[in-house]
């Protein structure tokens, strides 16, 4: 198992290196630069600024400088946000995104799996239909519609929760967590239901039932493992995407997370910030994929033996 993890980490590192290299050069190919503005500035000033950020160096030298920085865990200064380093920007935003994302994943996984199981075990019952409706609503209605609707109801009309911001402790978390979890609840519950029903039709479940060990044991010891494997496979990459922040959630609920940096940095050609965020998101995604594979390998001996 250790060899399996080690090999996956090594492959993950290679993937990340390729991703970062590709991003670095593609970003430079895109027209414009961090200091191209509509307002003309004198060539001397432009040259001075570019020299300060080493943009006057040949591109391979810039790349070397960037790689050397990554190795020292220094991602350099932001070209857009003066006086802030990329490390500062990530350190200030990431905790908010992580907190909201973490709880959203927990809520989505628990509620989603519970709804899916209930639907599969009591097919065509009221619970099943309710879960189905939640699923359709959660998938079909976008976050930017549900978010303001919930704000209008629970914050403005009922005054139970803050509209947004981060200053009311865990009360501030409830609405963004719920809104972020909702589409995932929908997806996870559908996935769990389908996968449960498929697994219940497997021959080995018939064997288990024929053993007369009672339906509870059939469910817990035989059906759940197989049924939850696809859900776990989905949860890995989904968790990486959720905890790294959502620009929609952060905009709707005025949360100073890092989600908005994803978009802003690219639009502003803030090269160091783009690279920092790519590295962060890529790293988290790869880590969660490895974690998913490890969990699946623990549950499924056939994956373990592939190596």
């Amino acid at each position: 198992m250790l060899r399996f993890i080690g090999k996956r980490l090594w492959h993950g590192g290679l993937t990340l290196a390729a991703l970062v290299t590709l991003t670095f050069f593609v970003m430079r190919l895109a027209p414009g630069g961090p200091f191209s503005r509509n307002r003309k500035i004198s060539p001397e000033v432009q040259a001075n600024i570019e020299a300060a950020f080493h943009l006057d160096e040949p591109i391979w030298q810039q790349f070397g400088r960037f790689v050397w920085g990554v190795l020292r865990l220094d991602l350099g200064p932001s070209t857009r946000h003066r006086d802030y380093s990329v490390n500062d920007l990530i350190a200030s935003g990431l905790p908010y995104s992580l907190t909201i994302g973490f709880w959203a994943v927990v809520v989505a996984a628990m509620v989603g799996v519970a709804l899916g199981l209930a639907g599969a075990l009591r097919r065509n019952s009221a619970t099943d239909y309710l879960a189905g409706i939640v699923g359709v609503v959660g998938i079909a209605i976008p976050i930017f519609v549900i978010g303001p609707l919930l704000q209008a109801t629970f914050a403005l009309r009922l005054d139970w929760l803050p509209v947004g911001g981060i200053n009311n402790g865990w009360h501030s978390l409830i609405l963004p967590v719920v809104v972020l979890a909702l589409p995932n609840i929908a997806y996870i519950s559908r996935l769990t239901r389908t996968s449960m029903i498929e697994t219940q039709r497997e021959n080995y479940i018939r064997t288990a039932r024929a053993k007369g060990i009672g339906w509870r044991r059939v469910l817990w010891r035989h059906t759940l493992t197989g049924a939850l494997l696809p859900v776990i496979a989905y949860l890995g990459p989904a968790t990486a995407a959720i905890i790294t922040g959502s620009i929609l959630i952060e905009t709707i609920f005025a949360v100073p997370g890092i989600g908005r940096h994803f978009v802003d940095a690219a639009l502003n050609r803030d090269y160091p910030l783009v690279m920092g965020i790519t590295l962060l998101y890529g790293g988290i995604l790869i880590l969660f994929n490895i974690a998913t594979d490890v969990i699946r390998a623990v549950l499924d001996p056939r994956i373990r033996n592939e190596r």
Binding site: E202, N203, Y204, R206, T207, A208, R209, A210, K211, G212, I213, G214, W215, R217, R221, H222, T225, G226, L299, D300, P301, R302, N305
Partner: protein, 325 residues
């Protein structure tokens, strides 16, 4: 029959389908004595497997069984799920057709075997696993103690079916149901697996119902044979006489379609013309469309299953032509 282990009376299995109801098993009655090996033969769709599934409470969700299946004084069809679970896997167990998919891929083989003993016999885990290893050894799994800690995908098809046999016989059942246990296996190991099953059955005094479409298997292992067609019993006879003197036209057709070593295949192997009719209620004999000796009344009158004392003891057939002669 006073020493009857199993007594099936008028078992009917229906399936609800979008296009209406279909009858898979149509009023089947059977008896089985302790330790007896009964073969049920018939072609695909004759309802032979569904008889076993009905007994085990494993019919598909749209299936319904009616009639009576008395096993050790209990009607299996009327038992609540909890009581049925006390019978199946203990006194009544089953081996399935496809060993490749019938074992849980996520669970160690030894644990899958031990599970039944823990639940039914109240054994402790270590004791149950030791029993499981002993049983694996008896079905000739080499190095059973180490193999018990392996997963099903590390076993070949033949070995998996031997594991299934070990699992089914572990609780020393009174009756073993085997649903085409060798169909999915290599021809070279079919006989080996069947002989093993029969041998262990004899040792534990377990009666066996063997469902198959392979008449060679029946000749090899069974004491008695029931021939099924369209969900109905066509003929029932001791195995040795069925092959020498089949009473029903369908049985004769089946035997003619069986390759034999002593006769050359010239001009070619016999076939039964036509295909079985599917679904729907039949008023007359279900075999009428394909029968070469049919009478006009066969299409309208259902021939009852009659004792054929003239042919010898324990013989029954459902044909207007037999018994009158």
């Amino acid at each position: 029959m006073t020493d009857s282990l199993l007594s099936i009376r008028d078992l009917t299995v229906r399936f609800r389908l979008p296009q209406g109801e279909t009858v898979a098993v149509d009023g089947v009655s059977l008896d089985l004595s302790p330790g007896e090996v009964l073969g049920i033969v018939g072609e695909s769709g004759s309802g032979k497997s569904q008889i076993l599934y009905a007994m085990m409470g494993l019919l598909a969700a749209n299936g319904r069984a009616s009639g009576q299946v008395s096993f050790q004084g209990q009607n299996l069809l009327a038992l609540p799920p909890g009581d049925l679970d006390r019978v199946r896997g203990d006194a009544l167990s089953m081996i399935f057709q496809d060993p490749m998919t019938s074992l849980n891929p996520y669970m160690r083989v030894g644990d899958q075997l031990a599970e039944g003993l823990i639940v039914h016999k109240g054994m402790a885990g270590t004791q149950a696993r030791a029993e499981a290893v002993r049983m694996l050894d008896r079905v000739r799994i080499p190095d059973a103690a180490a193999r018990a800690r392996r997963f099903p995908h590390e076993f070949s098809g033949g070995m998996r079916q031997r594991v299934m046999i070990a699992m089914a016989l572990l609780a020393k059942p009174r009756l073993l149901l085997a649903d085409e246990p060798t169909t999915a296996l290599d021809v070279t190991i079919q006989a080996q697996v069947l002989d093993l099953m029969a041998e262990l059955g004899r040792e534990t005094g377990t009666a066996i119902i063997l469902v198959t479409h392979d008449l060679g298997v029946v000749a090899r292992l069974c004491d008695r044979v029931v021939v099924l067609y369209g969900g109905r019993v066509m003929e029932e006879a001791p195995a040795e006489v069925l092959f020498d003197a089949p009473a029903h036209p369908y049985t004769r057709g089946l035997l003619a379609a069986m390759p034999r070593l002593e006769t050359a295949l010239t001009p070619r192997l016999g076939t039964i013309p036509g295909t079985p009719r599917s679904g729907g209620a039949v008023t007359g004999c279900p075999f009428v469309d394909r029968c070469e000796v049919r009478l006009p009344r066969c299409a309208t009158d259902r021939p009852p299953l009659r004792d054929l004392t003239a042919f010898g003891p324990g013989r029954r057939a459902a044909c207007h032509l037999t018994g009158v002669s």
